[in-house]
C-alpha cells in the first residue's frame, strides 16, 4: 500500500516549521518521524519539513538532541495539515544540557558522508589562542583537514589547496576568512547557529570549489524577547544584541567585535610599538521577518576589516563585506523554495608613504549572485531538489597610483576581468528501502569569461629579449572563453544494522576562480582570477567509502573513511614567478595534476559529562606541475603523513568545566638548501628538489577551564570566565625555516634560521548574556 506506487496521488501532506520555543530560532535537522512507518523527514536548513502520506491517522514524533521530544497524533484522512512546532530545551535536574543537535543516530542514517558538523557550544569551551574561540580552528581539528601551521586560518581538505574551500556565511561567499593574517577568522562565534564542513559527497546544489564547502549560518535573532551576549577577551571584545521587532514574527540581530591591540600599542613608550597600529573589527547584522508560513524573508550582512599602520611608512588592510537577501516561499505544502540574492566584496590595499616611491595599491573583487533553490517532497521516499545559481563576477587585480606628486609611479592598472557563472542542478534523495538510501544528482556549470577587457596574445619571446604580444580587445559582455562542465554527484548509505552503516560517494567538482598565490599560506594580498584563455577549469574527482558505527546508546560514534581524489588543472606557477603586479603573469601559469588519498578514523563522544573527538588521518598529496621541480612529482606544501587531533570537554559540575586539545602531525614539507655559490657577489643557495625536506613534527597541548559563577536568581545576567593556556608545555614548533646571508666579522656566509611562533600563552575571557 505504501511505497513507490505513484509519486503523489492520493496523498496528503503534513508540513511546517520547527523552531526553538524559547527564542524562536528555526531548528535545522530535527527528525520528524512517522512512527507507524518508521520513516519521516528532517527539517531543512530553514527549519522546514514536509511529509506526504497516504490518507490515515499517524503518530508524529519530533526529536532533537537536548530538546524535549514532542509527539502528536495527526489526522490526514481528509486534508493537508500545516503544523509548526516549537521545541523546548530539555532540563535535566539543575544542569542545563549543552549538547544539542540532530537526532543521535544521524551520523549513521544520513546519506551524506565526509561531513562534519561543529558543536558550537563545545567549541566555546575549548582552549583557544588568546581566548578567542574560532570555528576555523575547530575545523582544523577535524579528520581530513590539515593546516600549514599554527596561527593561520587556511586549511587544506583531502589534498586540496586552501582556495579550493568554499566558505559561505549565510550563503554569501567569503574570499578571505582571516583577521590578523589568520590569527583569527572572520567568524564571530556568538552569532553562529550552525556550521558544517563537507569534505566530499557534496550535494549537487553546491559547486564552484574543488575540495570542500564550509556552510556557516548565523542565528535568526530572538523573536520572543530582547537578549544580549558578549565577551571581553585579552585581544578582542564582542557584543551581540537581538530581539523581536514584532513578537513571534520578526526579529533582529546585530553583533560587533573589535580587537584592541592598538589601544595597548599606543600605551607603549617604544616607538616601534606605539607607531605600528593594528586592529580588526567585524559586524554582523540581520533582520528576519516571518510574514506567514508561506513567505519568510531575511536580510543579513557581514562587514569586516583589518587595518595595519606602520608609523608614517606604510599601511595596509583588507576587508570582506557580504549582503544576503533571502525569501523562503512555499508554493504548496510539498514545494519549498528559497530565493537568495547575494552581493559580496573583498578588497585590500597596500600603501607606502614616501615622497620618491610612494604609492597606493588597491585590488578588489565583487560577486553578485542569484540562487533559486527548490525542494519538492513528493513522498517520504524522495526529496527532489533542483535549481539555478547564477553569478556575475568582477575582478580588479590591481590599481596603482602615486600618493605623492614627486613619486616615480604613474597611475596604472592591471586589466580588470569579468565573468558569468551559471549552474543548473537536479538531485534526488531517494529512500530505496529501510536499509538503502541514495542521493544522486547532476550539476551543469557554465562559466564564461567576458569583456570588457584586453587579453594579451603572446608571441614567442623574440630575439630582442622583449615580451611581445598582440593586444586583443573584447567589448562589454563579449564572450572570451566559455567553460562547460557536467558534474555528477552520488552518495549511498546502507544500514547494516541499527548501529552500523556503510556509505560510499563519488563526486566531480569544478572550479573556475583561482587564487593567485604561490605561498604555502595564502595572504590577503593574493588576488583571484577567473578561468580565461590562460587558465583552465580545475576539475576534481573523488571516490570515498566509509563505515559508521555507534555504541553505547549512540553516545559513541565511530567512523572510518577512505578516499581517493585526483585533480586536474590546479594552477601553480613556474619556479620563481613574480605573482605581484605582473601584467604578464599568464606566461608563468602552470596547471598541474594532484593525486591525493588517505584514511580518516574518527571517534566522537556526544553525551555525558565527558564529550569530545579523537581523529587520526593518514594521507598523501602529490603534485605534478610542468616547469616546477623539473617536471617531477613533489609533495604538496601541506602534505602531512600522520595527523592526530583530539579535544574534549569535561563538565565537572554546574560551575566548572574543563577543556583540552592536543594536536600532533608530521612536519610539513619544506625546500632547503643543498649547496651554494657566489654570483656577482651574492652568496646564493642551491636548493633541493621542491619540498625535499620536512620540518620537525608538530605537537601542542592547549588547556582551558570555564567557570560559571552561580546565577543570581533575581537577575537575568549570566556570566562565565574562560581561562586558557595555549601551548601548555611550551613546545617550540617550527613555523618555517629559511636561509639568509650574513656578512659580518666572521665573514660572508649563509645560515638557516628557524622561526617559531607561540610559546606558552595564558589568556582570560569573560563571556556574558542577559
Amino acid at each position: 500500500m505504501y511505497g513507490n506506487a505513484g509519486f503523489t496521488q492520493n496523498k496528503f501532506t503534513v508540513s511546517g516549521y520547527v523552531s526553538d520555543a524559547e527564542n524562536g530560532e528555526e531548528l535545522i535537522g530535527v527528525s520528524v518521524l512517522v512512527k507507524e512507518l518508521g520513516t519521516g523527514a528532517i527539517s531543512n536548513m530553514y527549519g522546514f519539513y514536509s511529509i506526504s502520506l497516504s490518507p490515515g491517522k499517524y503518530q508524529l514524533a519530533l526529536s532533537y538532541i537536548g530538546y524535549e521530544t514532542v509527539e502528536r497524533e495527526i489526522d490526514l484522512t481528509k486534508q493537508n495539515l500545516v503544523l509548526n512546532f516549537s521545541l523546548k530545551i530539555q532540563t535535566m535536574g539543575l544542569q542545563e544540557v549543552i549538547v544539542t543537535g540532530r537526532p543521535d543516530d544521524h551520523n549513521l542514517t544520513e546519506i551524506s558522508m565526509s561531513r562534519v558538523e561543529l558543536n558550537l557550544d563545545q567549541v566555546k569551551k575549548l582552549p583557544a589562542l588568546f581566548g578567542e574561540s574560532d570555528i576555523i580552528k575547530a575545523i582544523q581539528m577535524q579528520p581530513g583537514v590539515i593546516t600549514a601551521g599554527e596561527g593561520t586560518s587556511g586549511y587544506f581538505v583531502r589534498g586540496g589547496s586552501s582556495d579550493q574551500n568554499l566558505i559561505l556565511i549565510d550563503e554569501a561567499p567569503v574570499y578571505d576568512a582571516s583577521h590578523l593574517f589568520g590569527l583569527f577568522s572572520v567568524f564571530n562565534s556568538d552569532v553562529i547557529k550552525s556550521s558544517e564542513l563537507y569534505k566530499g559527497g557534496i550535494p549537487a546544489q553546491y559547486g564552484g570549489r574543488l575540495s570542500s564547502m564550509l556552510d556557516v549560518r548565523t542565528r535568526d535573532g530572538n523573536n520572543k524577547r530582547f537578549a544580549a551576549t558578549g565577551g571581553i577577551g585579552s585581544l578582542a571584545s564582542r557584543i551581540a544584541l537581538e530581539g523581536p521587532l514584532k513578537r513571534d514574527e520578526s526579529s533582529f540581530l546585530i553583533s560587533a567585535r573589535r580587537s584592541y591591540l592598538d589601544v595597548f600599542q599606543r600605551m607603549s613608550s617604544h616607538e616601534d610599538v606605539n607607531s605600528n597600529l593594528v586592529h580588526f573589527y567585524d559586524v554582523n547584522a540581520k533582520l528576519n521577518w516571518r510574514k506567514n508560513n508561506n513567505n519568510r524573508f531575511f536580510v543579513a550582512g557581514y562587514f569586516g576589516r583589518d587595518v595595519f599602520r606602520f608609523g608614517n611608512d606604510a599601511a595596509f588592510g583588507w576587508g570582506n563585506s557580504t549582503l544576503t537577501f533571502r525569501w523562503n516561499h512555499l508554493y504548496n505544502e510539498r514545494l519549498f523554495s528559497n530565493l537568495t540574492l547575494v552581493g559580496s566584496n573583498f578588497d585590500y590595499s597596500l600603501e607606502l608613504f614616501d615622497p620618491g616611491i610612494g604609492f597606493q595599491w588597491t585590488a578588489n573583487m565583487q560577486d553578485l549572485q542569484l540562487k533559486l533553490d527548490y525542494t519538492w517532497y513528493p513522498n517520504p521516499d524522495h526529496i527532489v531538489s533542483f535549481g539555478y545559481n547564477g553569478s556575475y563576477k568582477r575582478f580588479v587585480p590591481g590599481n596603482i597610483s602615486p600618493n605623492d606628486p614627486s613619486s616615480i609611479f604613474k597611475a596604472w592598472s592591471l586589466e580588470k576581468m569579468y565573468a558569468f557563472e551559471h549552474a543548473f542542478y537536479l538531485g534526488d534523495e531517494h529512500r530505496i528501502s529501510s536499509r538503502l538510501s541514495m542521493q544522486y544528482g547532476l550539476r551543469l556549470s557554465a562559466f564564461q569569461n567576458v569583456g570588457s577587457t584586453l587579453i594579451r596574445d603572446y608571441l614567442r619571446e623574440g630575439e630582442t629579449g622583449q615580451i611581445e604580444y598582440e593586444p586583443v580587445y573584447y567589448g562589454k559582455f563579449e564572450p572570451i572563453k566559455t567553460f562547460i562542465n557536467l558534474e555528477p554527484r552520488f552518495n549511498a548509505r546502507y544500514m547494516l544494522s541499527d548501529r552500523t552503516s556503510l556509505k560510499t560517494s563519488y563526486n566531480r567538482m569544478t572550479q573556475n576562480v583561482h587564487l593567485i598565490s604561490n605561498s604555502t599560506v595564502p595572504i590577503p594580498f593574493n588576488t583571484w582570477q577567473p578561468s580565461s584563455p590562460y587558465l583552465n577549469t580545475q576539475v576534481s574527482d573523488q571516490i570515498a567509502a566509509g563505515v559508521f558505527r555507534n555504541l553505547a546508546n549512540n553516545s559513541l560514534e565511530f567512523s572510518a573513511e577512505a578516499y581517493y581524489k585526483w585533480m586536474q588543472g590546479v594552477p601553480d606557477f613556474a619556479d620563481g614567478a613574480d605573482i605581484f603586479f605582473n601584467p604578464d603573469l599568464a606566461l608563468d601559469f602552470r596547471p598541474g595534476d594532484v593525486e591525493a588519498y588517505g584514511l580518516e578514523l574518527h571517534a566522537v563522544k556526544t553525551k555525558g559529562k565527558l564529550t569530545g573527538s579523537v581523529a587520526y588521518t593518514w594521507s598523501k598529496a602529490i603534485r605534478t606541475t610542468p616547469d616546477v621541480n623539473e617536471d617531477r612529482p613533489y609533495y604538496a606544501n601541506f602534505d602531512r603523513r600522520h595527523v592526530f587531533n583530539s579535544y574534549a570537554t569535561y563538565d565537572l559540575n554546574d560551575a566548572w568545566s574543563f577543556g583540552a586539545a592536543f594536536t600532533y602531525s608530521t612536519g610539513r614539507p619544506i625546500t632547503l638548501p643543498v649547496g651554494k655559490y657566489n654570483f656577482d657577489g651574492y652568496l646564493v643557495d642551491v636548493v633541493s628538489e621542491r619540498n625535499g625536506y620536512r620540518l620537525p613534527d608538530f605537537h601542542r597541548l592547549d588547556l582551558s577551564a570555564t567557570w560559571k559563577p552561580a546565577k543570581n536568581k533575581s537577575r537575568k545576567w549570566e556570566g562565565s570566565w574562560v581561562f586558557s593556556v595555549y601551548n601548555a608545555y611550551n613546545r617550540k614548533n617550527p613555523f618555517t625555516i629559511h636561509s639568509r646571508s650574513v656578512n659580518d666579522d666572521n665573514g660572508h656566509r649563509n645560515e638557516l634560521r628557524m622561526i617559531y611562533l607561540f610559546p606558552v600563552l595564558p589568556s582570560v575571557t569573560y563571556n556574558f548574556n542577559f
Binding site: 616615480i408 655559490y677 651574492y682 642551491v686
Partner: protein, 294 residues
C-alpha cells in the same frame, strides 16, 4: 630596501609585518639559527658573465657550486674554453686571467645596441651555450645628495645618513627592464643590514623619475656612484628569481624557494646568467655643496 621591483616592495611590507607585528606585538615569535644535516648536491657549473656597451675587456666567471656549510669561496674553473660571438659577425675569445679570477676578452670591445650575443663554453668535454641581446638605455640626468633626517636620528651605522637622489627619463613606448648598482667608494653595495638586489621593470613607472632616493646610506666625503643597466626580459626574470630566492622565508608567505632559471643551457645542469647590458652612470662626492639637493 627601496628601488626594488614591486615584488621586493611587497616583500619588505611583509617583512614589516613579520618582524614588527609578530615579534614586537605578539611578543612571542622567536627566531634562532639552527644547523641541519643537509644533503649535498653534485657540484654544478656556475656562469657569471657580463658584456656591456663600455669599451673594455669583458669578463666571464666560471665556478662550481659547493656544499651549504663549506667554508670559503666556490672553486674557480680555469681550464675552460670561452668565446662570445656577435651577430654582426665578430667573434671574441676569452682567456683566463689570474688577477681578475675570470676569463677576459683578449681584445677590448663594446657591445652595440640591438646586437645579439652568444656565449660558448667548453669544459671537460661538455658544451654550454647562452644568448642575450643589448637593450637600449637612457642616461642619468642628475645625481644629488641630501641628509635623510630619519636616518640621522637613528643611523644604521654612525655617520651614515646621507642618501643620493637620481633623476632620469623613462621611455614610455617600450617595456624596459633595469638593474641598478650603487657603489660606496668603489665598493658595490649588496649587503647592509639586509640583502639588497636592486632591479625593476617599468610597469607603473612614469615618464619622469625625479630625485628618487637610493637605498644606500653614505657618510660625508664618500664617493657615491650609480649605474643603471638595461636587461632583457629573460635576464630580468633571472634577477627576479634570484631576489625571491635571496629573500625567501621558507615558502610560508613567499613562494617556495627554487633555483633561478638560468639562460645558459648545456648537456648538464648549469646555473648563473649571461648578461648583455647597456650601462649609464653618474657619480658625485657626498657632501659636495655643488650636488646638494636644495
Amino acid at each position: 630596501m627601496r628601488y626594488k621591483s614591486k615584488n621586493r616592495k611587497y616583500l619588505s611590507l611583509m617583512r614589516y609585518f613579520l618582524s614588527s607585528f609578530t615579534v614586537v606585538i605578539l611578543f612571542s615569535s622567536c627566531e634562532e639559527t639552527i644547523e641541519l644535516d643537509l644533503r649535498q648536491t653534485e657540484p654544478v657549473l656556475v656562469v657569471d658573465a657580463l658584456i656591456t656597451n663600455q669599451y673594455k675587456q669583458h669578463y666571464v666567471k666560471l665556478s662550481k657550486t659547493i656544499g651549504y656549510y663549506d667554508k670559503g669561496d666556490n672553486p674557480t674553473i680555469k681550464q675552460a674554453s670561452v668565446r662570445v660571438v656577435e651577430n654582426a659577425g665578430n667573434s671574441y675569445d676569452f682567456t683566463y686571467s689570474e688577477d681578475a679570477a675570470a676569463y677576459l676578452s683578449v681584445i677590448p670591445f663594446a657591445a652595440s645596441p640591438g646586437n645579439f650575443y652568444e656565449l660558448f663554453i667548453e669544459h671537460e668535454g661538455k658544451q654550454f651555450y647562452a644568448s642575450d641581446s643589448l637593450q637600449p638605455i637612457g642616461h642619468v640626468e642628475d645625481m644629488k645628495w641630501r641628509i635623510n633626517e630619519r636616518q640621522k636620528r637613528r643611523p644604521w651605522k654612525e655617520g651614515y645618513y646621507y642618501e643620493v637622489l637620481i633623476s632620469a627619463e623613462e621611455p614610455q613606448h617600450r617595456k624596459d627592464f633595469y638593474l641598478f648598482h650603487f657603489y660606496r667608494n668603489d665598493t658595490l653595495q649588496r649587503y647592509d643590514d639586509k640583502t639588497g638586489l636592486f632591479f625593476s621593470d617599468d610597469t607603473a613607472i612614469g615618464e619622469r623619475i625625479d630625485n628618487m632616493a637610493g637605498p644606500v646610506f653614505y657618510s660625508e666625503g664618500d664617493h657615491a656612484r650609480f649605474e643603471i643597466m638595461s636587461l632583457t626580459a629573460s635576464a630580468f626574470r633571472y634577477y627576479s628569481h634570484l631576489a625571491s630566492l635571496i629573500n625567501n622565508d621558507g615558502g610560508m608567505f613567499t613562494g617556495i624557494p627554487a633555483n633561478p632559471r638560468s639562460n645558459v643551457q648545456g648537456n648538464e645542469r648549469v646555473m648563473g646568467l649571461f648578461q648583455v647590458s647597456a650601462m649609464a652612470k653618474a657619480s658625485i662626492v657626498v657632501g659636495d655643496p655643488e650636488f646638494e639637493l636644495k
